[in-house]
Subunit: 393 residues, 2 copies
């Protein structure tokens, strides 16, 4: 079969709050080939991502993403690899193309899985999907008191692991950060796995980041995530030498495999966190997971949005028994919650698994999503390059 | 003064050819503050870059670029640093933002230089601008015979250095590549500096790249540029160990300072090539130039478009006497040639210098550019977020 159509849908909450919550909008991707449909999701700014799909070409290495996808053959995993390589090559200088490719790549795997009646992880060569231990991923409270209450709530929901991040963390005094860290541990109880996410707030300032290390060690936190921006390799490396039992985590900003490899090779990470919606989809996430495994770095998904994105993120390392922990969004906005009718629910023992059904195993709830669909129109030289397509089956 | 307005203009040749010539379109940037105007240029896909400027926000770290710029104070270089940092922070997850920032950053330096009556390199702290030795930057011919003729033409034009790149190079046999390399040297003569640009064609395939090393050494080439994509650090490092007298060059794909630092630290480069129109403007280019100097790696601009972009690229290292070589576009399309009325011309000894006048020292030729202006309209929820502004003084 050949790819007949690639469509991007901009979905958004009616109001976007100025907080670190990436579940407030979405780029949903639909690919059609041979009577089959595949779905994916870019973790990306919707308007520039749509523009990357449909823009006029600039030169031979700066071409619209759709050009490398529509009409391409799709019958096997190697066809997906060819499409992936074509986008990277033909859109090399179109920065936003990596984010656009991410949702398309997911949809290609979903479509192929449906056509073959197999879950994506099996197409990737894994015989079985191991259970993952989800951590509840939430924002820090505005005060340590709020964080305490959030942590208590998470404990009540019987999560065995929780991550607190963003919000006011890292933006005022180190003492405030330490209070936040202690509040999170107090609320979670001594047995819960505690993870802390600085959300790149210190950019590459090792000295400032080091001021929270003792508190993290005292409360027995498992990791400190993104003290610095992705790619600030020497800052990561320096901090990792000081971090004691607490390991560093990072990598969500990687938008291709090579960036993930650098983080694994040079940043002194204990955990590499990959967002399949940014790195180039399941193909690039899988490549990063294999690279991490060979080098003894634990692979973790980065997912703060829908369960469609969650399934895609999990497929890449579902078959890796030792990479057990996974991110699990619990505070997401109604848009992200309603994006799929089905969900990846926790079992009684607190673990989750990818759906054991074809493709990604979840489909968008088109009826529920109508109210979130954003009407976009892009005209160049008077010609309409993009108009929001109808979101119908 | 405060920034009153930031405008992006999409300029394009009437027909875009599917060749590796990045001078076929442009994103021209105008910034206005306190009665002054500054100009810059993004080396980027125009439509996604415009979308990055004006898109609706997604969350606190994925906001439109203009939000961090319009209204900001602009009275000193530290104000530019603040604006730069705000864009990086507030648009962290908007991938295309780095390319959008690049042209804005140039325009901020241009504007500040004009307001103070000083060239940008002086605002950067350099007392004088040293002459640079430009290399003629051209595409390989389709055949070795064509390349020979091109090289002979360059020699006739009295360039002391030339770079051949892209086109068919690296896409068929290693023998074809070797023939191309020998043809370039033959046409250029034995005394010219010969540079070869593989345009990332081997992605990260060290074995294939190694097949041209002997020929490069035999013809006494100075560098092999971009055998691999930016960020494929271990592939670069491995090849650098095999490359003999020929040094590796790369880095044009870097879209922030940290990526340039990685290439300098881990890729085994002899030359780091930075495009101010991609890395985040003059501010980030300068940071990379200083980092390279401290580590004994030669800094070179990457510029394949207009003389406005050329001036901006040169300002970052104009004061660095030892980084002598510079890229100089010679085959650019009429759009790029007409973009400025003034030009940076070669002197009788073959060298060039940045203009010794305020700001970037060159201004767009608005009259000539009218015919290249592309009409763009972007509507979201029925509201016009972008409509090509008039390109008038």
């Amino acid at each position: 079969m050949r790819i007949e159509r690639v469509e991007f849908f901009y979905l958004s909450m009616p109001v976007i709050e100025n907080v670190g919550d990436g579940s407030q909008d979405a780029v949903l991707v639909r690919v059609e080939a041979g009577g089959q449909t595949g779905w994916g999701e870019c973790e990306a700014a919707p308007l520039p991502t749509i523009a990357a799909l449909v823009c006029p070409p600039s030169h031979s290495a700066c071409r619209p993403v759709q050009e490398s996808v529509v009409g391409a053959k799709l019958e096997s995993p190697s066809d997906i690899a060819n499409i992936h390589a074509a986008v990277r090559r033909n859109s090399l200088d179109l920065l936003q193309a990596d984010h656009a490719l991410s949702g398309i790549d997911m949809a290609l795997w979903d479509l192929l899985g449906r056509a073959r009646g197999e879950p994506v992880y099996k197409l990737l060569g894994d015989k079985r999907a191991y259970p993952k231990l989800p951590y509840a991923s939430v924002l820090f409270g505005e005060t340590p008191q709020e964080t305490l209450a959030k942590a208590q709530g998470i404990r009540k929901e019987k999560y065995r692991a929780a991550k607190f991040g963003w919000g006011p963390f890292g933006k005022s005094t180190a003492q405030f950060d330490r209070d936040q860290i202690h509040a999170a541990r107090e609320g979670l109880g001594s047995d819960g796995i505690l993870l802390v996410d600085a959300g790149t707030v210190w950019e590459d300032n090792v000295e400032r980041a080091a001021q929270v290390l003792e508190a993290l060690n005292v409360v027995n936190a498992t990791w400190l995530e993104e003290p610095f921006v992705s790619g600030a390799l020497s800052a990561y490396k320096k901090l990792s030498a000081l971090s004691g039992r607490v390991k560093l985590a990072g990598g969500e900003g990687c938008h291709n495999f090579h960036m993930a490899a650098q983080m694994i090779d040079y940043a002194g990470l204990g955990y590499v966190q990959i967002d399949a919606g940014r790195i180039g989809g399941i193909s690039a996430a899988r490549q990063a997971a294999e690279y991490a495994r060979e080098r003894g770095v634990t692979y973790v998904n980065h997912t703060f949005t829908s369960h469609l994105a969650l399934s895609a993120s999990l497929q890449a390392y579902a078959g890796f028994e030792r990479d057990e922990i996974c991110e699990y969004p619990v505070e997401s906005k109604p848009l992200a919650q309603e994006l799929t009718a089905g969900r990846i629910e926790r079992r009684a023992d607190g673990t989750i698994s990818v759906p054991d059904s074809p493709g990604l195993g979840l489909v968008p709830d088109l009826k529920a999503l109508q109210k979130y669909l954003v009407d976009v129109e892009i005209k160049v030289h008077g010609k309409t390059l993009y108009k929001t397509p109808p979101l119908k089956a």
